[in-house]
């Protein structure tokens, strides 16, 4: 599911933005990666909902949130660090936060492996192509 989503959105990105600047493309791909993670995971998890809702927010709301999180940075215990890392972690109690972290880390590592293998595959393809040429 995760791979399926990711590959699909990757293909979509390739189709729609073949010539856009690199940073935009990479951001789009990163977003696609997170979204595919969130889609694959159980919808009851907070972090998936956070990711998906973050997608739908307008830019203005995003700005607002950034300011808010800026204020929170004043105190940083390890707990708060973790809270900031896990999407949607600001409003959870610690117990829940750990649970979400377990889930999130699992999916994240899986996503990393998926992306690595895709990169490997594509590089191998590149080499093949070059050899042929």
């Amino acid at each position: 599911m995760q791979t399926y989503h990711f590959l699909r959105s990757l293909a979509h990105i390739n189709l729609t933005t073949p010539s856009s600047p690199l940073h935009r493309r990479s951001r789009a791909i990163r977003r696609a990666a997170y979204v595919s993670m969130a889609r694959a995971a159980s919808p009851r998890r907070m972090w998936t909902r956070a990711i998906l809702s973050r997608l739908q927010l307008h830019r203005r709301a995003r700005l607002l949130r950034r300011q808010r999180s800026y204020k929170k940075k004043a105190i940083s215990t390890p707990h708060d660090k973790l809270r900031r890392l896990v999407p949607g972690g600001e409003e959870m109690d610690f117990c829940r936060l750990l649970e979400e972290t377990v889930d999130y880390a699992e999916f994240l590592s899986k996503q990393v492996r998926i992306m690595e293998s895709v990169v490997d595959f594509m590089e191998a393809e590149c080499k093949k192509k070059e050899e042929k040429v």
Binding site: L7, R25, L98, C126
Partner: protein, 454 residues
Amino acid sequence: MEKEAFFGNSTVINWQMRSPDAAASLPNMNSGHVNIVWDQTIDQSAKFGSALSSLVSSPSSNPPAAAGGGDSVVIRELIGRLGSICNSDEISAPSSHYQSANNSCYSTPMNSPPKLNLSIFPNPAHMPFSADPGFVERAARCSTFGCSGGGSHGGGQFMFPEVEKLGNAPEESCGSGNAKKRKAVMKGKGKEAPLSSSITAVTNPPKKASVGGLNAKRSKPSEKTGIEEESARQDGDAASKKMEEEQIAKPPEAVKDYIHVRARRGQATDSHSLAERVRREKISERMKLLQDLVPGCSKVTGKAVMLDEIINYVQLLQRQVEFLSMKLATVNPQLDFNMENFVNKDMDIHQNCGLLPPQPVYPLEATASSFSFANLSERTPLISINGLELQSQVNPFSQPSLSRNLSMQLPPLEGFADTACQLGTFWDDDLRTVVQMGFSHNQENLFSSQSFQG
């Protein structure tokens, strides 16, 4: 918090109460009993995982005592139990697989309640498996050792003969006992200890209470600290004799009140500290999970250090995603069309290679008309370890028209399956989900997406 604690422990009690009860009331099942059973399984699922609920809810939505009588009820209960075991057991894998796997164990179409089994197969040879308690045990074992049991499950007839050998009424209690024990182990808390202790506390005469009173009072505050708790837990039986004399001091009424909460002897029994204890246990449980997950974290002791490690790990992963997305952005555009060529070539190769003989014959496979699907089903054994999941994959093919749709979607999947074969096994479950995703995408009107995708 407190509520959760009550939930968790009431299920334990229910289990105990039920196991003799079930054996007694199996022949003449009444709806009251059914309700009890279901409440408890729902509780269990609430404790164990969110994903299970869809599984539980689908069978429980039918009227309990409608058709099939006792047998279907037993099966439903079993599914609930199985599901909970699975969920607690396999944390790393997406639990949606296991749901579907469980369902397919019973050879039901995905969403249909187990009672349908009875109506579909009126054949007496098939009847025993539904009522069979041995099957429970077997299935539970299968779910815990998924891979080993998977093959035999895939073998068409769902191992009826073995089940018939195993199954008779007395084994029901045995099976449930096993499941219970397993569950207790899953929770990792050594449930027997508190229960036995509380029982002794009740049965002991209150004379000793006055004797040990002072000691107990002294010991209580010290045991509120987590370290002491841990040590007490670890000492277990060795220290229990000494502990017992002290803890009898607790007034029996208090023990009775909180018997459903995991109050060990000598621990504070007021609701706040109980809730706090449950919370601490939960946190340490999750810490353990994270410890397994985060590489290099197993040697670290101390929560703060571990938390740092976890933070570092998550950060690392996030950065990796960022980096890889950059890389993909640079690599991608040249290779769009090229990939498809590669995929097509590879399909040919794979049709010829046939590394594994096809798995035990699926009756449904024969009905599938499209060639590429046959190819896929031949190859899935390569990828998926678990036969159960295979079964769940093959089931949807009963409609030939769908397989046509599938063949449309297959080429890209095939290509990536190939890369997975080359690059390692870690993709496996993902590929399975890719395949499943393909199906459920095509037939969302047939199967609720929940049961598939979780």
